[in-house]
């Protein structure tokens, strides 16, 4: 193997390792989603097909009651789009990192991007230790493990739905895994301001259905963080009295 291929393989493995500790959260959330699909009225083969092709837990769960009540196709797709709107923000944030790649490769990376894999990638990319030419290899490693874990646990949930207790609150593991991801990022003032604003807006906007509140909250948080970032140096130059 060429040295370049070896380097890329090493980055892929590093990505696979980076997501390992978060995988219990992905597994629990996948399992609970799989069970919910079958309990929501889908037969086993359809539920498996949906898990493999849609690969978006919150959109699948939002669509279930609409499918069960026989809502028109466009309503279900519109609900899916609304629930997935946050991915547009993620996609815009990832664009500069992968702009050099071929379109087919960018489409593949986009397909495998989730809340978990996006967050891990952004954090690692901003640490500055990831060689730019190997970004996609590292991200692919993260995505591969996340996809395998999610699909394995979702399909387990689908096949064994009637044996899996739904009242243990397993899905809370997913929330905890997100807490573990966000914790280390809450160290700078703009991040804390943005996170706080985003949390408050998300709480106030929760009556808005289909995770649209989440989209609004994320935008508000990003604006607040940017303002906090910009005002910080302005205040300090005034304090030091420089012209």
């Amino acid at each position: 193997m060429t040295p370049l291929a070896l380097e890329r393989r090493a980055e892929f493995r590093a990505g696979q390792r980076a997501i390992l500790p978060s995988l219990p959260g992905a597994a629990a959330w996948g399992l609970v989603s799989g069970v919910a699909m079958v309990k929501g009225g889908l037969s086993v083969p359809w539920a498996i097909l949906m898990s493999l092709t849609v690969y978006a837990g919150s959109a699948q769960l939002a669509a279930l009651p609409l499918i069960a009540t026989g809502m028109p196709l466009w309503v279900i797709v519109a609900t899916g789009l609304a629930t997935n709107l946050r991915f547009v923000i993620y996609s815009a944030a990832l664009r500069p990192y992968f702009a050099e790649l071929a379109a087919r490769r960018r489409a593949a990376l986009g397909f495998f991007m989730t809340d978990f894999t996006f967050t891990l990638f952004m954090r690692h990319a901003q640490e500055g230790t990831l060689p730019p030419q190997h970004r996609d290899a590292w991200f692919s490693g993260v995505c591969a493990n996340n996809w395998i874990t999610w699909q394995t646990s979702a399909i387990t949930g689908i096949v064994a739905a009637s044996y899996i207790p739904t009242d243990w609150g397993l899905e809370f593991t997913g929330t905890l895994a997100l807490i573990a991801l966000v914790g280390p990022a809450l160290t700078t003032r703009p991040a804390i301001v943005g996170g706080a604003v985003s949390a408050v807006v998300a709480l106030l906007a929760h009556p808005i259905p289909y995770r649209l509140g989440l989209f609004v909250a994320a935008i508000a948080g990003i604006v607040a963080a940017t303002l906090a970032d910009r005002w910080q140096p302005a205040v300090s130059t005034r304090e030091t009295g420089s012209p």
Binding site: I67, I89, A92, L214
Partner: protein, 112 residues
């Protein structure tokens, strides 16, 4: 759902949902240079992970059940979330954070 008409309808729903995910996830990635935000906005997006995660986590923890905000100290999700956050302040270990949070959450569901 064994009736063929329902099967075709369900297939259409799955294709539609898969497209809704694919289109949103690849939107800016695939548009490449054609659809491009200005540089200041792209720089601001470095705060996207923190902001979206907080917007997912905080309602998950505080809005359990009927959708009303539950700040009560007896809310098991709040107890679990705080326990996991305290663990993170002490150690960076993710597995320990998950274990601490789940133990605190489960215990408070059983005991409170």
């Amino acid at each position: 759902m064994n009736d063929p008409v329902a099967g075709i309808a369900l297939a259409a729903v799955i294709v539609g949902l898969a497209l809704s995910t694919f289109v949103t996830r690849t939107s800016f990635l695939l548009a490449g240079g054609r659809l491009r935000l200005n540089h200041r906005i792209e720089t601001a997006l470095r705060f996207a992970p923190v902001c979206t995660l907080m917007a997912i986590i905080v309602p998950d923890v505080l809005l359990h059940g009927q959708g009303s905000i539950d700040f009560s100290p007896l809310n098991p999700r709040l107890i679990g979330g705080v326990a996991s956050a305290l663990w993170l302040c002490w150690s960076r270990g993710i597995l320990g954070c998950l274990a601490t949070g789940m133990i605190a959450y489960s215990l408070s569901r059983v005991l409170l």
